[in-house]
């Protein structure tokens, strides 16, 4: 017990000193399924809490083929060159093994991973819930404690991932391609209204003129949609990651966004709200898990479901029966 405590203290110290190796180790601990590891990870996280919160948390999503990785690499590199420390959290679809994904590190964002001020962590897709790793929020906190002042969270674009990531970041970027009309057909409902800035990506070469037209198109549509952040009108910008164009503008926009939200007080009120909602969502999830963990209950629910859809029972009657007939210790 004392040994573990010492190890955790050492781990915390190394992370605070900026050791990427120890940060990666801590995240692996966080993602571990072992109850003891989880308990250790929470103890570690608690130690780290005083040092969290000082980053800009940025969510990044995009239509398929929009070039998220390419953008993150170019944008991340620029930020590093300007003295920032950048953490990139992403789901690695190729990896299903718990405990990190070495291969992912090497094959994607190769240039950025060589930056000493960058930390890239592709989490295994195994631990995802609605398309986001269950531990991404806590991983973000660890990265902040490790001194990363910009955290980029890439979404896989599946399930509820955009909404979930929106619920843990300050600023949300949407990457789109030219040919808005066709593109948008495949875009998920409501995605545009989550974004604080839309980037028309791959705005280079022959694609520059269509990209300009697409930008105007998006600006027009923007008028018809609500902005994701009160007091901030969603921006649309052109970016070429290939030619490193437009990246400075994105950084400036994010800085302006932060200043605006600091002034209105929305910056901290959104964060408090996000934390509270996270807590409440976790309570809800635990309640539902505990409820359905009982095999008897699970069977009765599906039996009632059948009776309901066959018109033999009302929904209210089924719920009443579930909650009155039997007394199970739930918490």
């Amino acid at each position: 017990k004392t040994k573990i405590k010492q190890n955790l203290d050492e781990l915390a110290e190394k992370i605070r000193e900026g050791s990427r190796l120890h940060l990666a180790k801590a995240i692996t601990l966080l993602e571990s399924a072992h109850p003891e590891d989880q308990s250790d990870a929470q103890d570690l996280l608690k130690k780290m809490l005083p040092y969290t919160g000082d980053s800009i948390r940025i969510g990044i999503t995009g239509v398929p083929g929009a070039g998220k990785s390419t953008f993150i690499e170019a944008f991340g590199k620029m930020l590093c060159e300007r003295g920032h420390r950048v953490a990139v959290l992403a789901i690695d679809p190729s990896s299903t093994v718990n405990g990190g994904s070495i291969l992912g590190d090497k094959t994607r964002m190769e240039q950025l991973s060589r930056e000493p001020n960058a930390f890239i962590r592709p989490s295994p897709s195994a631990g995802t819930l609605g398309g986001v790793h269950k531990k991404t929020r806590e991983t973000m906190l660890l990265c902040e404690a490790a001194g990363y002042d910009i955290v980029l969270i890439e979404t896989m674009g599946v399930g509820q991932s955009e909404t979930i990531v929106r619920g843990m970041v300050d600023f949300f970027l949407l990457l789109v391609l030219t040919g808005a009309g066709d593109e948008l057909q495949g875009m998920k409902k409501g995605i545009m209204e989550l974004a604080d800035t839309i980037i028309v990506h791959k705005a280079d070469g022959d694609n520059l003129r269509p990209a300009q037209r697409t930008m105007s198109e998006y600006k027009r549509i923007q008028h018809f949609l609500q902005s994701a952040t009160p007091g901030w009108d969603t921006r649309t910008h052109l970016v070429s990651s290939l030619e490193n164009k437009g990246l400075s503008r994105i950084q400036e926009t994010i800085e302006e966004f932060r200043e605006t939200c600091m002034k209105t007080g929305f910056w901290s009120s959104r964060r408090t709200k996000q934390t509270t909602e996270w807590f409440q969502a976790m309570i809800r999830d635990r309640l539902i898990d505990t409820f359905y963990a009982n095999n008897d209950t699970k069977q009765r629910v599906s039996q009632f479901e059948k009776q309901i859809t066959e018109g033999q029972m009302t929904v209210s009657q089924a719920v009443d029966l579930l909650f009155s007939d039997e007394k199970t210790e739930l918490i």
Copy 2:
């Protein structure tokens, strides 16, 4: 007990015979807060289940001032004249008294309420959850058992009401006004993507030309949004309830919609999904209600919430403590 059973049998019979008085009485029973009334109402509803499901369920929402009541009155009258039996369910914001709202009946939709084939039921706003009355879904079933082949559910446009109503209807109508640009600024996020048909309302007199422009505008925007129903492209139509113009077209559109969805099988699969989701949502709500009903638990949650936002505790630790420390009988 036998007496009540007899009464319920009689009530069921009268409803089936088309007595609006008895239908109203049954809905009042459904909306009652008394446990005995609730139990009776569920017994009654169970009796009625074999006769439910044969209507077209239509949700209606609109931007403020779009003229929902005027439209429902004109549309409902036309449907009655064409031999349909039309039930209108709405929240009555003026009424807070449980047990029906006589005044609402008289002041709104006066003409429609005189139709023998129409049944208008404004439910008190007191029993709403997210902007929809908790019993609207079951009221709809009673109306179907009473032989109403078209049920119109009007949303108040507050809270989650549009999404909730979308989850209980086959077809969803959105009423908008001319001047889309300004209008849409005040439109709730994602509302357009819930609609199977958008009606540009008040398309009459000097307003006709702007309405046509608005319609083109909406059709354009429609391209950028996903349709609410697979296999059905959202339509946009002009309607003047004042001049009774465009109402036939709406009925035809709804008929076409039904045929399309019947062919794809989506009509019944959506309904089954809606019922199952309703059941699951009611289980979730009951779990959460039961959990927070415990005063001790409630206090601990808000105490933990404070500690979390002050950085003294991680969210996972708080949830673990809530679910391990104490054993409460929940179900």
